[in-house]
C-alpha cells in the first residue's frame, strides 16, 4: 500500500505539472494548482448556471429530480473526454513509463497508481458537475439528510466508470497518435468530431430545454434505458434506495476493477503496442533532392509543420476547415440543422435589433442630453475615447465649426483634424473652460473629421 501511495503521489504531481502553463519549471507547480483551481471554478460556474436553469424548467413540470440525472450525464461526458486525454498521455504514453517499468513494482500496482491519478482528476470534475445540481435541487425542495453524502458517493462511483471508459478511449487515442502515416488527418478528424460534439451539444440546448419544458418523460426514459447508473444515483440521493446503491456499486466498481486488472496484467504489452511506431520505412531517393531558395525552404518547412501538427492546424486553420465543412454540408444537405437554424434566427434578430438603434451596443445606456433628466450629470466628453484602430465611439459631431475640446495645459500641439478652431484656441496653451466637444443639437450627425481621442501620444485627448 505504501508503494501504491508513493507512486500515486508521483503520478499526481506529474499530472499537475503538465497542467501548469509556466515557462519556468520552478513556478510550474504553483501555476498548475492555479490552473486547476481556475478550471474547477469554471466547471462550477458552468455547472451552476445549467443546474439552476434546468431546475427552473423542470420544477415547473414537477420533475425537479431529473436535474440530479442530467448534470451527472453532462459531467460523465466531459470526464470521459478529458480523462481520455490524460489516460492517453499518462497511462500509455507516459514519459515515465520506462523508468517505472524498470523498477520492481508489481504491474497491477503500477496500473492502479496510474489509473488513480486519472480517477482523481475525473472525480474533481464530476464533483464540480454534481454538487451544483444537488444545490439547485436542495434549494427548490425539502431534501433528505442523505442527499449530500449520496451525491458525493454517486460522483465518486460515476468517476470510477468514466475512468474505465477514459482509459479504453485513451488507449485508442495513443495507438492512433503513433500511427506513422496519416496521423495528422486522423487526429484532426478526431478533434473535429470532438468539437462537433461540443458544438452540437451547445446548439441542442434550446430544443432540449423546450422538450424538457413540454414533457420530460422521454428524456427520463432515455437516461433510464441507456445510462441506468445515473438513474440509480438519483434513486439513492432522493429515495435513499439501497438496491439502487448496490446496483450502482456493481455497475461502477466492476468495470473499473476489470479495466485495472486488464491494464495491470498486460501493461508492458499495451505500452509497447500503443507507443510502437507503425508504418513501413519510407524509401526515398537522394536523387529526388532539389535546390530551393531560402524563402521556399522556409515556406515548405512551415507548411510541413502546419499539416504535420494537428494542434497547429486546428489553432490556425480551424476557421477555414469549418468553412469548408459547412459549405460541403450545405451543398449536400441544403438546409441548416434545426438547432443551428434556431440559433441563426436568434442571432439575426439580435443583429436587427442592434442595427435599428443608432447607438453602439456598449453604449446602450447612453441617452441624448434632451431626454436626460436635469439632475443627471452630463457625461464628460472624455469618456468616449477612440479605439486603438482609430474608430471612435464618441457621439458624432459636425465637421465644422467644432467647439474645442477641454484643453490640457500639457498639450504641445492641437488635435490634428480641427483646423477650424479659432486662432485664440490654437495659440493658447492655457486650460479652457469645460466645454463639450460638440453641441447637443448636432450629435446625431456624423463627423468625419473628428479627432481620434486618446489615440495619439502627441495629442493625448481630453481627460
Amino acid at each position: 500500500m505504501k508503494l501504491f501511495w508513493t507512486l500515486t503521489r508521483a503520478q499526481l504531481r506529474g499530472l499537475l505539472s503538465s497542467v501548469g502553463n509556466s515557462n519556468t519549471r520552478k513556478t510550474r507547480p504553483r501555476s498548475a494548482w492555479l490552473m486547476l483551481g481556475l478550471l474547477a471554478l469554471l466547471a462550477l460556474y458552468l455547472s451552476g448556471t445549467y443546474s439552476f436553469a434546468l431546475a427552473s424548467v423542470l420544477g415547473g413540470t414537477g420533475n425537479l429530480d431529473l436535474v440530479l440525472e442530467l448534470m451527472p450525464f453532462v459531467g460523465a461526458g466531459f470526464t470521459v473526454l478529458l480523462g481520455a486525454q490524460s489516460a492517453g498521455t499518462f497511462v500509455f504514453a507516459g514519459r515515465d513509463n520506462d523508468l517505472l517499468l524498470a523498477l520492481p513494482i508489481p504491474r497491477l500496482t503500477l496500473a492502479l497508481a496510474k489509473l488513480a491519478a486519472v480517477l482523481l482528476e475525473n472525480l474533481l470534475f464530476m464533483l464540480c458537475m454534481v454538487l451544483p445540481a444537488g444545490l439547485a435541487y436542495a434549494l427548490a425542495t425539502p431534501t433528505p439528510a442523505w442527499l449530500w453524502p449520496a451525491e458525493v458517493l454517486g460522483a465518486a462511483l460515476l468517476a470510477l466508470v468514466t475512468t474505465a471508459l477514459s482509459v479504453a478511449l485513451g488507449l485508442v487515442i495513443t495507438v492512433v497518435n503513433n500511427l506513422r502515416q496519416g496521423t495528422t488527418i486522423v487526429n484532426v478528424l478526431g478533434m473535429l468530431l470532438l468539437l462537433g460534439f461540443v458544438a452540437g451539444s451547445l446548439v441542442g440546448q434550446v430544443p432540449l430545454m423546450k422538450s424538457l419544458e413540454a414533457d420530460p418523460a422521454p428524456v427520463r426514459a432515455w437516461i433510464g434505458t441507456w445510462t441506468p447508473p445515473l438513474t440509480w444515483v438519483r434513486d439513492v440521493a432522493v429515495d435513499g434506495s439501497l438496491p439502487a446503491l448496490a446496483l450502482l456499486v456493481l455497475a461502477t466498481v466492476v468495470p473499473f476493477a476489470g479495466v485495472a486488472w486488464l491494464v495491470g496484467r498486460s501493461f508492458v504489452a499495451l505500452v509497447g503496442q500503443a507507443t510502437a511506431k507503425r508504418g513501413g520505412v519510407r524509401k526515398v531517393a537522394v536523387s529526388s533532392m532539389r535546390a530551393r531558395t531560402p524563402f521556399v525552404a522556409l515556406v515548405r518547412r512551415e507548411s510541413q509543420r502546419f499539416f504535420g501538427s494537428s494542434i497547429y492546424f486546428l489553432n490556425t486553420g480551424f476557421g477555414l476547415a469549418m468553412l469548408l465543412l459547412g459549405a460541403g454540408y450545405l451543398i449536400v444537405i441544403r438546409e441548416l440543422p434545426a438547432g443551428f437554424a434556431e440559433v441563426a434566427r436568434a442571432a439575426r434578430s439580435a443583429v436587427r435589433v442592434r442595427s435599428s438603434t443608432s447607438r453602439p451596443p456598449s453604449l446602450s445606456h447612453w441617452r441624448p442630453a434632451e431626454s436626460r433628466p436635469r439632475s443627471t450629470p452630463r457625461r464628460p466628453a472624455s469618456r468616449w475615447k477612440g479605439s486603438a484602430s482609430g474608430s471612435s465611439r464618441r457621439p458624432p459631431c459636425p465637421p465644422a465649426p467644432c467647439s474645442p475640446p477641454r484643453w490640457r495645459s500639457t498639450w504641445r500641439s492641437r488635435p490634428p483634424s480641427c483646423s477650424s478652431w479659432p486662432s485664440s484656441v490654437r495659440s493658447s496653451p492655457t486650460p479652457r473652460p469645460r466645454t463639450p466637444p460638440c453641441s447637443s443639437s448636432c450629435r446625431s450627425r456624423s463627423c468625419s473629421s473628428s479627432p481620434s481621442w486618446g489615440s495619439s501620444r502627441t495629442s493625448p485627448g481630453p481627460t
Binding site: G14, R25, D96, D98, L101, A102, P104, V268, G272, V281
Partner: protein
C-alpha cells in the same frame, strides 16, 4: 548473473534482434558494442523488463524477467541512454522516491545518497528541481539513483555520454567496485577505447545478431577493438533497426 537465451524481438515484420544468446557472469564487466540500430538498446530494454518479447528467455540472478519481473528488477538497475527523470521533483526528492520504491531505510539511504552524490559532485544541486539540470547532471543523478539501490546487475545504455572526464573516471571506478563485490555490468557504448580498457568481456552485435563475444583479450587479439569492429561491420552502415 544475466542469462539471455535465444532472445528475439520483432517490431511488426521487422526483426530487431534475432536469436541472441549472451551470458554476463558475476564479477564481469561486459561491453555491448554495435552500430546504430544494431539492437543494443532493444536487448537492454528487454532485459530490464521495459520491453515485452515473445521469443527466448532472459533471467537475472535466477529470476525470469517475464515470469518473475519484480524479483528480477529488485536486483537490477537500468540506466537508459537519455534518462527521463521526474523534472518536477528536486534531485533529493527523486532519490527519495527511488529509495522508497526499493524500501531502503532512512539511515542507509542518507549514507548512500551522501556518498554517491559527493562522488559525482552533485551534492550541492540536490535541492534544485531536476528540470533545471543539464544533461550531464541528469545523467549523474540517474547514476546515483542506480548505485543507491546496490544492484547486483547494472544495465547501462551509453553511460558515458554527457559525463565530464572526472565523472567518467568515477563511474569506471564504481563499476569495477560493483563487480569486485560480486555484481555484474552490461553496458553499451560507442567509445571503443573505453570498452577495450574497461571491459572484461566484449559482445559485438550487428544487424540484430551477436557476431562475436568473449573475453576482451580474445576478441581483440593482436589488433585493436576498433579494427575488429570495423572488420565485422565491413558491409557498411545498415538501416536503423528501430
Amino acid at each position: 548473473m544475466l542469462q539471455i537465451s535465444n532472445f528475439t524481438k520483432r517490431y511488426g515484420d521487422k526483426v530487431a534482434v534475432a536469436d541472441l544468446s549472451l551470458v554476463v557472469p558475476a564479477g564481469r564487466i561486459v561491453g555491448f558494442i554495435g552500430h546504430n540500430g544494431a539492437g543494443k538498446t532493444t536487448t537492454l530494454r528487454a532485459a530490464s523488463g521495459i520491453l515485452d518479447f515473445s521469443e527466448g528467455t532472459i533471467a537475472i540472478d535466477g529470476h525470469d524477467v517475464r515470469a518473475d519481473p519484480v524479483g528480477a528488477k529488485r536486483v537490477t538497475a537500468f540506466l537508459p541512454d537519455n534518462p527521463d527523470l521526474y523534472e518536477f521533483m528536486s534531485g533529493l526528492d527523486y532519490l527519495g522516491f527511488i529509495a522508497d520504491i526499493y524500501g531502503i531505510d532512512a539511515p542507509r539511504r542518507r549514507d548512500l545518497v551522501a556518498r554517491y552524490a559527493a562522488a559525482y559532485g552533485i551534492e550541492g544541486d540536490l535541492g534544485s528541481s531536476v528540470g533545471s539540470y543539464s544533461h550531464g547532471m541528469k545523467q549523474k543523478l540517474a547514476l546515483v539513483s542506480a548505485f543507491i539501490r546496490t544492484p547486483r546487475l547494472l544495465l547501462l545504455d551509453e553511460p558515458f555520454v554527457g559525463l565530464d572526464p572526472i565523472a567518467a573516471h568515477t563511474l569506471k571506478g564504481h563499476l569495477r567496485t560493483l563487480c569486485d563485490a560480486g555484481g555484474a555490468v552490461l553496458f553499451s557504448t560507442h567509445i571503443l577505447e573505453v570498452a577495450q580498457a574497461l571491459c572484461d568481456d566484449i559482445a559485438i552485435i550487428s544487424h540484430g545478431r551477436l557476431v562475436k563475444s568473449g573475453p576482451t583479450a580474445e576478441v581483440v587479439g593482436d589488433s585493436s577493438l576498433e579494427e575488429v569492429f570495423l572488420e565485422l561491420n565491413a558491409g557498411g552502415q545498415p538501416e536503423a533497426s528501430r
